[in-house]
């Protein structure tokens, strides 16, 4: 399976470094470079981006040579659900208030788990939201509305 690049861990790591490093260098072209004595805001990031690209190339080539695969499976589903639950929380807390945001977060993130028991998640969401409301809103007096927008 030497040429299965899609699951080649070093190839992918190298690719990621090259992409990020390259992006950093390209964007930094808009910033003044200055000189070594008076470095402009573009100097340091350009150097860093280039170094990252070099490391990326090395890691990538090494990956092609060794062909080592990523260990285990990719957990795309839990990753997407967890990320979604966090985004949902940020999106809702401003608009619907803290409690709806937390309940939504609990339900979406619980789907990422192996078993999903509706009653259990509901109970957990209610209990933890109440706890969070107690600690953050009543205890610490954070100005977050429990329900409703800011």
């Amino acid at each position: 399976m030497k040429f299965d690049l899609r699951n080649n861990k070093d190839f992918l790591a190298g690719l990621l470094f090259i992409l990020i490093g390259g992006l950093a260098v390209v964007i930094a072209r808009d910033y003044p470079m200055g000189s070594a004595m008076r470095m402009g805001p573009g100097y340091f990031p350009t150097i860093l981006g280039s170094i990252l690209c070099l490391f990326g190339v090395y890691v990538m080539v090494r990956g092609i040579v060794s062909g080592e695969r990523v260990k285990g499976e990719w957990g795309w589903k839990p990753l997407a659900l967890i990320a979604l639950s966090i985004v949902l929380f940020g999106f809702l807390i401003d608009r619907l208030g803290m409690i709806p945001a937390l309940v939504a977060m609990f339900f979406v993130s619980a789907f990422a788990g192996r078993e999903f028991r509706f009653k259990e998640v509901l109970l957990l969401a209610v209990l933890m939201s109440a706890f969070a409301a107690g600690v953050f809103v009543y205890g610490l007096k954070l100005p977050y509305p429990l329900f409703g927008s800011f």
Binding site: A13, A24, M39, G40, L48, G75, I82, I93, L124
Partner: protein, 497 residues
Amino acid sequence: MDILNNLVFGFTVAFSLQNLAYCFIGVLLGTLIGVLPGIGPLVTIAMLFPITFNLPAVPALIMLAGIYYGAQYGGSTTSILVNLPGETASAVTCLDGYQMARQGRAGPALAIAAIASFFAGCVGTLLIALAGPPLAEWALLFGAAEYFSLMLMGLTAAAVLTHGDMVKGFAMVVLGLLIGIVGTDVNSGMARYSFGVPELTDGVGFTVVAVGLFAVAEIVVNLELKEAREVFTSKITGLMPTGKDLKDSSWPMVRGTAVGAFFGVLPGTGPALSSFATYLLEKKIARDPSRFGEGAIEGVAAPEAANNAAAQTAFIPMLTLGIPASATMALMLGAMTIQGIVPGPQVMISNPDLFWGLIASMWIGNLMLVILNLPLVGVWVRLLRVPYRWLFPSIIMFSSLGNFSVNNSPVDVYLCAVVGVLGYILVKLECEPAPLLLGYVLGPLMEEYVRRALLISRGDPTVFFTRPISLAFMIATLLILVVMIAPAVRKKREEAH
């Protein structure tokens, strides 16, 4: 014995009912904000600053100082329990502390963290009393070139010595430096890598990076398998460290304290470098370095000692020279000036009650912290018996609320999801997040120092090699590289033959 008299005098000051009470409030508050992700000691002290106007100088400073070193105690708790560093300095504690918790040894890990912190706190306090002024003088020898070389050494060591392979370690450091640069350039005022998002002109917050890289990525790793896997073993072996644990941790604690005290005195390195440095040192000299990252108790004891020792010795430049080492110290200095005390070397003579009382109170505060934290160990450990399917959404809840509370900005929450995705991918590709975090913390500082060093030297890069202290760090950096690369190259050759 002059020092003895002074210390006795300090204790009589610190033992007044009022001072004890403020010391307690300080350390309690410190522990609390240390445990909660998001809020750090700087923000807390800035907010409490006005309250201190109405207090006499001594209790005011005792309380503010308590918050500062108390936060170092609290920061390790979430690192060990859920792989979420509460403060910058406790990021390293995640590496082995969390593994210990998974092996049912959260109790000993938490206890050793508290004990190491206490030990280091006591030594640090004593150092202020005994050697404050000469240490502060020595710290003044460090200019931009020295700091840059020191940080280069720290980053090299971090890249080389953490878990996985070296080249990826370096790449992660550089990636961290780049993330650290996001935001407004201090010299020119230019917003870099902000992609038109106004919130990004302030940079990516520490909590965002720490939560995304450590907590979120770890949760997804635990959930990726279709069949159930035990995240925390149900077999919990003892709440307190065994005799062997204590024996194993005693020297790392001493070394951690020494390293931490060294970095603490230097204004301008921040607490993160000290805990990384001592962790790497322990790993280098360990008989079996492979245990590190798998739950080695030395990997908890040494960095926890280091960050607390650093928190104590950071007071040295402020108290003896009137030079604050960090923004937090600058605020405390401000609290002193507001009270009409002129900061500087004469404080020891003009306000002995403040100087010696504060030192004595630090020792008392450390004692309070250990008394406060050891009984809590049992409570924390019980938390881990909660089924993981309940635990992980709750961790996400606290992390997200913590992220949101820093700026009340949903953008921070979104960013955390992005960093979490990146963090998970990096973990899967076997890239260690710890060097990235160190790079992220040091990135803006390194840039500032290298630019300043070259400005002062009129663009002459040999400045890093002609100044003796800087040269020493550069040589050390090279040695680290040679020592680490040589065996790898030899191995490669043998394989080729």
